[in-house]
């Protein structure tokens, strides 16, 4: 996170949006970005085409400005590819991130399982704060209910039920993450000051 000396309340935050294939990562970024999303999609060629036709092969990039009380935050959102054959891109994109959203599609048991693996990967790689974006939460209350257990989340981990296609709902996810990031940075600062 970069804090320009001139305006102490203005911050630039680098966020990653990760999660399994078809969890809604590109959708989430597209729903809230103020700029046309820089997407790198290719046609799906294997059996997963029944799920969707295109898949991110490099990254997505979008931007969202958040104005709050005493805060001007520019959120730079980087979306990762979902399939684990692209995990080298997770490493590349995670460099310098302040936090990440783990998207998961609650309508798919496989998505939840895969999300668990991705979360383990990220937690090993980075101690950065994260929130879980529980996509398609409206139609899958049971899956939402058991998500803490299924993802082996620590107590206090933040899960945000959402519909990634909906702008307001998608926004809640990244705002929750922003809150986590700001709290994390504050905690770090207070530890450093002691």
């Amino acid at each position: 996170m970069q804090t320009p000396a001139s305006a102490a309340e203005s911050v630039t935050v680098k966020l990653l949006v990760t999660g399994p294939f078809s969890a809604g990562k590109t959708t989430l970024i597209s729903a809230i970005s103020e700029i046309p999303v820089v997407a790198t999609e290719a046609a799906v060629s294997d059996h997963t085409i029944v799920t969707k036709a295109n898949t991110t092969v490099t990254m997505d990039f979008g931007k969202l400005t958040v104005e709050g009380e005493g805060l001007h935050a520019e959120l730079l959102m980087f979306g990762t590819p979902g399939q684990d054959r692209f995990s080298f891109m997770w490493d590349v994109l995670a460099k310098g991130m302040d936090g990440y959203v783990l998207m998961v599609d609650l309508s798919s048991r496989e998505s939840v399982e895969e999300a668990g693996k991705i979360l383990r990967y990220f937690r090993e790689m980075s101690g950065a704060p994260f929130v879980v974006g529980a996509n398609r939460a409206l139609d899958n209350p049971d899956a939402l209910e058991s998500l803490d257990t299924d993802l082996a989340l620590q107590p206090g981990a933040v899960v945000v039920p959402c519909e990634a296609t909906d702008r307001d709902s998608a926004k809640q996810v990244v705002l929750a993450l922003l809150l986590e990031v700001l709290t994390f940075v504050e905690d770090e600062a207070s530890v450093g000051a002691e």
Binding site: A42, A43, V57, T58, A137, D142, V158
Partner: protein, 215 residues
């Protein structure tokens, strides 16, 4: 000649996703869900194995006729071929002998470390690599292609042709091979890049036509 569509592989169908309702407007930002939750309903547990088929793509000396290319990939557990192979149009499938022949031809012309032909979403179709890292390299080829296309597009440079990554001790070059495929070449530092481009571009064009089917 009856061939299977390279872009349709056997495998398990994911449960179709229900069309979601409109807004989840009431989502509260930091709604941490409380403690341990009850077990998830286990009635539609999906079968375990998932990536297996890609790892099975090795260099088959020369696959025989028809469905054979796909037969070399082990079926994911108890998954009947739910995705019916679409009409074939004579397109080569994974491990098609014509793809291996193309790789051999290129290697005969130029001294290379490895060659990968993959789909644009990063699944290996055929390869000849020194290490057992085909899954990753196919994905990297697709990433190079995806980034390259995006850059070319951003600057209005029409269509993507190739991306050269030069390290102090070698090259990784990614060539567009039609709309749906990519040719990637790993070459030693001693490689004559001009000669490589000359041969590989020709091959990529041929592969593009081959993978797009006849007509």
């Amino acid at each position: 000649m009856d061939r299977l569509n390279p872009f349709a592989r056997p495998g398990r169908i994911l449960s179709p996703t229900s069309p979601s309702a409109s807004a989840y407007a009431s989502a509260s930002p930091a709604a941490a869900l409380p403690g341990p939750a009850p077990e998830a309903p286990q009635d539609h547990v999906s079968p375990p194995a998932q990536v297996v088929e890609d790892q099975a793509l090795t260099i088959a000396p020369a696959a025989p006729e028809a469905p054979a290319p796909l037969a070399s990939a082990p079926e994911p557990v108890a998954a009947p071929a739910e995705v019916a192979p679409s009409p074939t149009h004579g397109r080569p499938g994974p491990d098609d002998p014509r793809l291996h022949e193309a790789i051999r031809e290129l290697r005969n012309e130029i001294d290379l470390v490895g060659v990968m032909i993959a789909t644009s979403d990063g699944l290996a179709l055929a390869y000849d690599l020194p290490s057992d890292d085909s899954l990753r390299i196919a994905a990297m080829a697709a990433t190079g292609l995806g980034l390259g296309r995006r850059l070319v597009d951003s600057f209005g440079h029409e269509s993507f042709q190739e991306q050269v990554t030069r390290g102090s001790d070698g090259y990784f070059v990614v060539y567009s091979a039609g709309r749906d495929a990519v040719l990637a070449v790993i070459a030693p530092a001693s490689c004559n890049l001009g000669m490589l481009h000359h041969q590989a571009r020709r091959l990529a064009t041929r592969l593009g036509a081959l993978l797009a089917g006849p007509s």
